[in-house]
C-alpha cells in the first residue's frame, strides 16, 4: 500500500549512484523479505510514475524475495520457513503463491473463496525440517535493499 514511498526512496538511491557513475542505469536489483508489504506490480507501477522524465525512466526493476528463516529451539539449526495453513496445503494448489491475497482476482476463484467450515479452520503449521520440533523462533525478515545497479557502460 505504501509502494509510492518505497519508489521515491528507490529513485533517490539510484539517482545518487547515477550522479557518481555518470552512466545510464539499465536495471536495478532490489531485495526484500517475506513480511514486507511489497507487491511487485504496485512497486513497478509506482517506480515508473516517479521515474518519469528522470535518467531512470527506462530502468528495469528486478525484485528478489528472500526467504523467511527460523531458528529451531531444540536442535539450534536454522531453516527457511513458509507460512501456510493446513487448508492451503491440501486445497489451494491452483493458487500456490506466497502472496495469495494479492494474486489477480481470476486466480482466487477457487475453493478458497468458500466459507470455511469449523473443520477447515486450522492454524499455521510449521516444523523444523531437521528435527520436526515446532518450537522455533522466526529470525528478522530481510530488509528492503537496493542491491545492485547495471549501467550501460563503464565509467
Amino acid at each position: 500500500m505504501h509502494e509510492t514511498v518505497l519508489a521515491q526512496n528507490l529513485l533517490a538511491a539510484i539517482l545518487a549512484e547515477v550522479a557518481k557513475h555518470n552512466a545510464k542505469p539499465l536495471a536495478a536489483k532490489i531485495s526484500c523479505g517475506q513480511l514486507s508489504a511489497v507487491n511487485d506490480q504496485a512497486l513497478c507501477f509506482a517506480f515508473e510514475a516517479v521515474a518519469k522524465d528522470t535518467p531512470c525512466q527506462t530502468t528495469k526493476l528486478i525484485i528478489e524475495h528472500k526467504p523467511l528463516q527460523a531458528a529451531c529451539s531444540r536442535c539450534s539449526r536454522t531453516f527457511d520457513i513458509t507460512l501456510h495453513t493446513r487448508r492451503n496445503l491440501s486445497q489451494n494448489t491452483e493458487c500456490h503463491s506466497e502472496r495469495s491475497e494479492e494474486s489477480p482476482p481470476s486466480m482466487t476463484l477457487t475453493s478458497s473463496t468458500k466459507r470455511q467450515t469449523q473443520a477447515d479452520r486450522q492454524g499455521l503449521v510449521s516444523k523444523c525440517p531437521h528435527c520436526s520440533s515446532s518450537d522455533f523462533q522466526l529470525l528478522p525478515d530481510a530488509p528492503l535493499m537496493l542491491e545492485e545497479i547495471e549501467f550501460d557502460r563503464d565509467q
Binding site: 505504501h2 513480511l35 491475497e101 492454524g123 515446532s134 523462533q137 547495471e150
Partner: protein, 222 residues
Amino acid sequence: MKKIKVAKKLLSENDRYAFENLVLLREKKILCLNMISSPGSGKTTILFRTIELLKDKTGIAVIEGDIQTDIDAQRLKVTGVPVIQINTQGACHLSAPQISDALKQLPLTNLDLIFIENVGNLVCPADFNLGEHAKIVVLSVAEGDDKPAKYPSIFAKSKALLVNKIDLLHSGAQIDFDLERVKIDSRVLNKDVKILPLSAKTGEGFTQWCDWLRRSVETLRL
C-alpha cells in the same frame, strides 16, 4: 555494461529518524509503545481506559495518527494527558520524522510512557519503525481468528497482542472466534508474544494489561 553493488536499505532515512527517537526516549527513560490494528478494533477506547487507570502514578502522553480529523485526539484529551495529533493526509502509516516532530512538542521530563496510536491499518504500519520500544498489536474478536495467519508481519513483530472486545464472546453474540487458534498462530510467528485478552468496554483483563505496562515502565527505569 557494468554492474555495481550498492547494498543500501531503502527505508534508511526513516530508520535514521527512528534511531534518533529511540536514543532520545532511552535518555529520558520513557517507554514508547506503537499501537497497531485494523480500524475499529478499539485502540482509542483501550487507551482511554488505560490512561484513566494509570495517570495518577504514571506520566502519560499520546501521539495520535489518523488520515483525517482529530476525533480520537479530542476523545483522549478528556483524560487530561498531553495528546499530539498527526494527520497523515492519506498516508497509510506514521513515519519516524513525524514522531520526531511530535516528541519536540511533548513535556518529556514529566513523562514515563508514550503511546503512539498508529493509523488504523494491519499492514503498512508494521514496515515503519518509529523508534518505539515495542509494537503492540490489537485484534478485536469481531475481526475473526484468522488474522494472525493472514497478516503475519505485524503479529511477528509485536511484543504483545491485545485481544479486545472479549466481552462479545460471552454475550451470546454469534461470533466465530477461537481464541486458542489466535494464540497458536501468534506463537508460531513469535513464541514469546504476551497475549492479553481484554474488553475496553467492561474493563475485563485490564488488571493484567496495566500490570504488564507498570512492569515494563519499571524495567526501563532500572
